[in-house]
């Protein structure tokens, strides 16, 4: 048990005793006609998954319907080729839509869930493409009674197949770069650049899809398929290109200060104009692009480590790779492009009176913002469990303790190497009403896995575990 070391006031930064209320603290005063938090449409994960499954069922069944209607007896290779091809084409457009950064998806589903779905779907689509190609060659071989090599040569000589083959090869290169073993060797920047080839691959295979036997002769389907692709590309252009450019012009973000937090961690304060229009919330993140010669090419996702204000945003960066290391010494005044806000781990997810926040390492950044801003009425509990190796590795210690004192919240530091602190019994000891809480979780993958298993085993319903995992 420690004695609180900071005063009862809270905010960002914790104001010194007797200090006059500055422009930032005045934001905490009641404002006229506030907008509802996180307003805007949100698509729930179940809705999105249902739409994907229904679409996949329709697309996958269509070739079977055509095959059954035809005069020929059903043959395995052609049917497999057609079904796999249609599903692959649908899967590609779904993968693009998941990564479109559309706010309804980002706020409703969450960036980490979308990324996980994208990763799983990517493996599935690549498998379907390979099955489609293999089955198509096999079907050709059977129909012409030729050997596989001749059939392959003839298939590759078909109209549009050269571009399609090139697109498929690019897709395979991207897939190879996403394999875990390869990904460990690639920097985030290289992996990101490699991933951009996907757009070229999709463009090269698009006409092949429209000219496929399952769509030709069905003009409505061809138009619908083409519209699906062009609309998803418009969505990508809108949210991944135009929106950041608009935000750059409107908000004119620049680095205001860089504060060392210790152990390779810095907090970067970014100032700008009209930041209230972003409607960012604690728990969310932006993709930041710092316009220096070394860092302008890549955007990195970092959470807000303090509640946003009308003029300032704060992110906290730990040097984990080349890009984040370069940000340790970013110069004050550097122009910044911020794409976002993204993420669904906000107060809007809360359903219960009591809240448990669990953070590990630099995962404290979104939790620190939530710890300050989650609504807390009398009779409600707000608890933060912060896992760190040692006390000197605890980030924002003064701020956290000030917030805990001022809000009547509980703060536990879980220090050292005790493996039992994140077990169900260990968690229940500190938070007896854990099954009746909303749990927000952010931390390194192994710790997050341990906590996820422990809270579910302790009786927490899965829908009340809110987490975002960041890994590329």
């Amino acid at each position: 048990m420690t004695t609180p070391t900071a005063g009862p006031d809270f905010g960002w930064p914790p104001p010194s005793p007797g200090a006059p209320a500055g422009p930032e603290t005045s934001l905490l005063a009641p404002l006229p006609e506030p907008a509802p938090p996180g307003s805007g449409p949100r698509l729930r994960p179940r809705q999105v998954l249902l739409a994907i499954r229904l679409g996949a069922a329709a697309v996958g069944l269509w070739p079977l319907v055509l095959a059954l209607e035809g005069p020929q007896p059903l043959q395995l290779a052609p049917v497999v080729a057609h079904v796999a091809g249609m599903l692959a084409g649908f899967g590609v457009v779904v993968l693009l839509a998941l990564m479109s950064r559309a706010p309804a998806l980002e706020r409703g589903v969450g960036a980490d869930a979308l990324t996980r779905w994208h990763a799983v779907g990517g493996r599935l689509v690549v498998s379907l493409v390979l099955v489609h190609a293999g089955a198509a060659v096999l079907a050709w071989e059977d129909s012409r009674q030729e050997n596989a090599l001749v059939a392959l040569r003839e298939v590759l000589g078909l109209p549009l197949l050269a571009a399609t083959t090139l697109g498929t090869l690019l897709l395979l290169v991207v897939a190879a770069g996403s394999i875990r073993a390869a990904r460990r060797r690639l920097s985030y920047e290289s992996w990101h650049t490699l991933h951009l080839l996907t757009y070229l691959a999709v463009a090269l295979t698009f006409l092949h899809q429209l000219a496929g036997p399952d769509l030709t002769g069905h003009r409505v389907l061809q138009v619908g398929w083409a519209l699906l692709y062009t609309c998803v590309f418009a969505l990508l252009l809108r949210h991944r290109v135009l929106a950041p450019l608009r935000q750059a012009a409107r908000h004119r973000l620049r680095v205001a200060s860089v504060v060392a937090e210790g152990h390779g961690v810095v907090s970067i304060e970014v100032e700008g104009e009209h930041l209230d229009e972003l409607r960012a919330e604690a728990g969310q993140f932006f993709r930041w692009r710092f316009l220096t010669p070394d860092t302008w090419l890549t955007a990195h996702p970092f959470s807000l480590s303090a509640p946003p204000t009308a003029h300032r945003l704060r992110l906290t960066v730990k040097a984990l790779g080349a890009g984040s290391s370069q940000l340790q010494s970013v110069a004050v005044g550097t122009w910044v492009l911020a794409e976002g806000p993204y993420g669904a781990m906000t107060a809007a997810r809360r359903t219960r009176r009591h809240v448990l926040l669990v953070a590990g390492g630099v995962g404290i950044t979104p939790m620190r913002a939530l710890f300050e801003t989650l609504p807390l009425a009398p009779g409600q509990d707000l608890t933060l469990l912060y896992r760190a190796r040692s006390l000197d590795q605890v980030l924002f210690r003064d701020e956290l303790e000030a917030i805990a004192r001022s809000r009547g919240a509980r703060l536990h530091y879980l220090l050292g190497a005790d493996p039992n602190c994140l077990t169900p019994s260990g968690l229940l000891t500190r938070v007896p009403d854990l099954p009746d809480c909303d749990v927000y979780l952010c931390g390194p993958p192994r710790m997050a896995d341990a906590v996820r298993g422990a809270v579910l085993e302790a009786g927490l319903p899965p829908e009340r575990l809110h987490e975002e995992r960041f890994a590329f």
């Binding site: 020929q72 298939v155 002769g217 509980r410």
Partner: protein
């Protein structure tokens, strides 16, 4: 293992203004979307629709990549195919964008269309 725990003996009520960040910063209402941005969005949507229609209506109506009908099978439906086994086994003639054949396609039959 060290556990540090701190809690006020009497929880203080939170500040009323700290309901959410969006409220705290006076988030802009949805109607604050700038007219210029809205115009850009409309232009983008119309362009995407026009491109989709162009691609869709310009797509070939006969598949250039349909698998040929197996020789053995084609002879059994020779009366329908109205063609020799050689022509049945040949791949479809590539139909350029906006091809002229308008009949409904059948699975496995596209290769016989001329």
């Amino acid at each position: 293992m060290t556990t540090m725990h701190q809690q006020l003996s009497e929880p203080r009520p939170r500040r009323d203004a700290c309901v959410s960040v969006a409220e705290a910063v006076g988030a802009a209402p949805r109607c604050a979307v700038r007219p210029r941005n809205r115009r850009q969005d409309v232009v983008l949507a119309l362009t995407a629709t026009a491109l989709g229609l162009w691609f869709g209506f310009g797509a070939p109506s006969v598949s250039p990549v349909a698998p040929p009908v197996p020789v053995a099978s084609s002879t059994s439906v020779g009366s329908e195919a109205a063609g020799s086994p050689d022509s049945a086994a040949a791949p479809a003639a590539p139909a350029g964008r906006g091809g002229t054949s308008r009949g409904p396609a059948r699975f496995g039959q596209q290769g016989r269309r001329r």
